[in-house]
Symmetry: C2
Subunit: 196 residues, 2 copies
């Protein structure tokens, strides 16, 4: 939480299969163990609850990312933290969300998961790169749709040189250094690392 | 806020021009004066930020109402209150939202603004009844699209027999009686009715 009682928004961005959700999934329970209120918006949550019916056109992608930003802002301005883990390929809309959230006192932390496309394609978690290369999927980010990397992300994660646990710890350290979360105390009597 | 630190959701439902937004607009600043954190989802906010692209088919109306419920739940389960002021014509989806919000500890308060269709049509705030009667607008609730009144709303507001200020006070009294908001103390030294 910020000094003024507002939340932070960890905004993950990166290519499909870059590792955004994997890292978010490690980070989230660790934050909750420390008593940090956090809501997560990954692909599944968003598709089911916020963006049903939207396509992958630039216009619809922008609406989707703005919508996630709107919800993250609702939370951060009320002191609740959020994690967004969507490709969010366009710089301008990410920056719009930053502006919105910061204008209401929230902390916007852009986490660039910078895994190169070759590596993402090797992993191909959902088999979508294969489909895109075969022409069965049009407008796939990294294949035939653009991805605009952040220019000044607060955090860059290089998944080729570190494992997801290390990446999650790096983000926790960043949040601690900005006094946005309590520090973990290994000696906590109940062993829960709640930071108390 | 509930005993367990969760928020409440005031869910207004009623025909177009029933008075939902008018009452919500009086209620909201009064709640904020008392230091109550509240976010409002009326037609404009929702159309701009959550439901762009949705039509007025039953399927899309349901998606829209579920989406508002999803966002209200995100807030209430984190201790932030919300006000939804949408027609929300279908009982089953309103009940779904109640179930979701209550399952996470939030208080769901259905506010039925029961203004009869004849009176709503007389007011016709946005001139939409006129258009619907002229056949220029299809699927308009109250004209050629159904409205299912709540069976057991927590609060019923009869706008024909009371003014919006009185209705807002009635809702405040309800929230006070359930210990969901602090009571207003007229003698507050700063005159802000913050309840302290």
């Amino acid at each position: 939480m910020t000094k003024n009682g507002k939340g932070f928004c960890l905004w993950f961005t990166g290519l499909p299969s870059a590792g955004k959700s994997t890292i978010a999934d490690i980070l989230t329970p660790e934050l909750r163990k420390r008593g940090v209120k956090v809501e997560v918006f990954d692909g599944d949550v968003v598709r089911t609850n916020l963006s049903k019916g939207l396509t992958f056109s630039k216009e619809d992608r922008d609406i989707n990312i703005r919508r996630i930003g709107f919800v993250c802002d609702l939370l951060t301005r009320n002191g609740v933290n959020s994690i967004a883990a969507a490709i969010s390929p366009y710089r301008s809309v990410r920056d719009e969300n930053r502006k919105l959230i910061e204008s209401n006192g929230g902390a916007f932390i852009e986490v660039y998961v910078s895994t190169p496309v070759e590596e993402c394609e090797k992993r191909d978690v959902k088999g979508l790169y294969k489909k895109a290369r075969a022409g069965q999927l049009k407008g796939f980010t990294g294949v035939d749709d653009p991805y605009e990397a952040p220019l000044n992300p607060e955090i860059e994660i290089k998944t080729q040189s570190e494992d997801p646990q290390t990446s999650a710890l790096k983000i926790l350290s960043y949040l601690e250094s900005k006094n946005l979360i309590p520090t973990a105390t290994k000696g906590c009597s109940c062993g829960c690392q709640c930071g108390k």
